[in-house]
């Protein structure tokens, strides 16, 4: 485990990259490496985080331009190899825009940029991203987004439910997301996208540690 390295992707406009790196290194003693979006060499990282922010200024749509970066092009083989990818907030938007996860993230129902702590139900243990413990559990994580309303068609929603791909649901839906969805995984479970920020909940002094488990699970095989 000593050499396990998490790549933290930096796009122009990413602003949670250093938070993620700090949480992994400072709170969990997991080595990180920043990956500039123009890099396509992912050979020396074992897992990848797409952090929050406003990649490419959110031009056109959130995550739409980031999808065409060399790094995202290289991500396909990385995901197929079974290594883990965590997309947080803007990272989740990038994962849906690039087709790694289904659906899309659109403007919050009330048009507010919402910055708050939210209660979340852990729905699925697929991928082992959350401490499931065999029972339904609730965690509290911060959210900070203007475009976090998850949307998908009814066939996709049925598939998400049937295949247990819904990872997290809001207890009190803050943004109008379909089916209260806050986070989903791919079928294999090695890709997780979520709007809440686990890296902002890794130390009691800043309000909680419910995000630690998710970041720590990056090192799972």
């Amino acid at each position: 485990m000593d050499n396990f390295t998490v790549g933290v992707v930096v796009f122009p406009g990413s602003n949670c990259d250093r938070d993620v790196s700090w949480a992994l290194e400072g709170c969990l003693d997991i080595r990180t490496k920043y990956l500039w979006h123009e890099s396509s060499d992912l050979s020396d990282v074992d897992a990848i985080v797409l952090p929050g922010g406003f990649s490419y200024g959110d031009y056109l749509r959130c995550g739409a331009i980031a999808r065409f970066s060399p790094l995202i092009n290289a991500l396909d083989d990385f995901v197929k190899s079974g290594r883990r990818v965590l997309g947080i907030c803007n990272g989740f938007q990038i994962l849906t825009e690039s087709g790694f996860l289904p659906g899309a993230l659109t403007a919050n129902k009330n048009l507010n940029f919402i910055c708050d702590d939210v209660e979340l139900d852990i729905v699925s243990s697929k991928g082992g991203w959350f401490n499931d413990g065999g029972e339904k559990q609730t965690i509290k994580l911060p959210i900070a987004h203007g475009e976090g309303r998850y949307h998908c068609d009814s066939d996709t929603l049925k598939k998400l439910v049937d295949d247990e791909l819904i990872a997290l649901r809001y207890k009190n839906n803050p943004n109008g997301s379909s089916f209260d969805i806050a986070g989903i995984t791919n079928e294999k479970g090695n890709v997780l996208g979520l709007m809440p920020h686990p890296e902002r909940a890794c130390d009691e002094t800043i309000g909680g540690t419910d995000g630690l488990f998710t970041l720590k699970s990056l090192i799972l095989k």
Binding site: A64, T106, A107, G176
Partner: protein, 84 residues
């Protein structure tokens, strides 16, 4: 090579809520405009593009619309094309 002016319209699908459209509708009514039944906001993208004839240009624009200009999970698109 022929040059074309293309206007692409990208709209949220009818089934997708448009909060910005709703807010603008509400402001329009406050302005005193009567009779507004629906107001939805989209995007218009203007492209000047070269190609060997209209068919080749349409192929390029279809690719751009489908892969970049619109997210077809939530948006529809259409375009008009004028030879310059």
């Amino acid at each position: 090579m022929d040059q074309f002016a293309v206007k692409v319209f990208v709209r949220l699908r009818p089934s997708v809520l448009d909060p910005a459209g709703e807010a603008t509708k509400s402001a329009s009514i406050k302005l005193g405009a009567e009779g507004i039944k629906s107001l939805r906001i989209g995007k218009m993208i203007e492209v000047k593009i070269e190609g060997n004839g209209e068919n080749e240009v349409r192929e390029k624009i279809d690719l751009l619309c489908d892969r970049l200009f619109a997210n077809t999970v939530i948006e529809d698109y259409e375009y008009s094309l004028e030879k310059l």
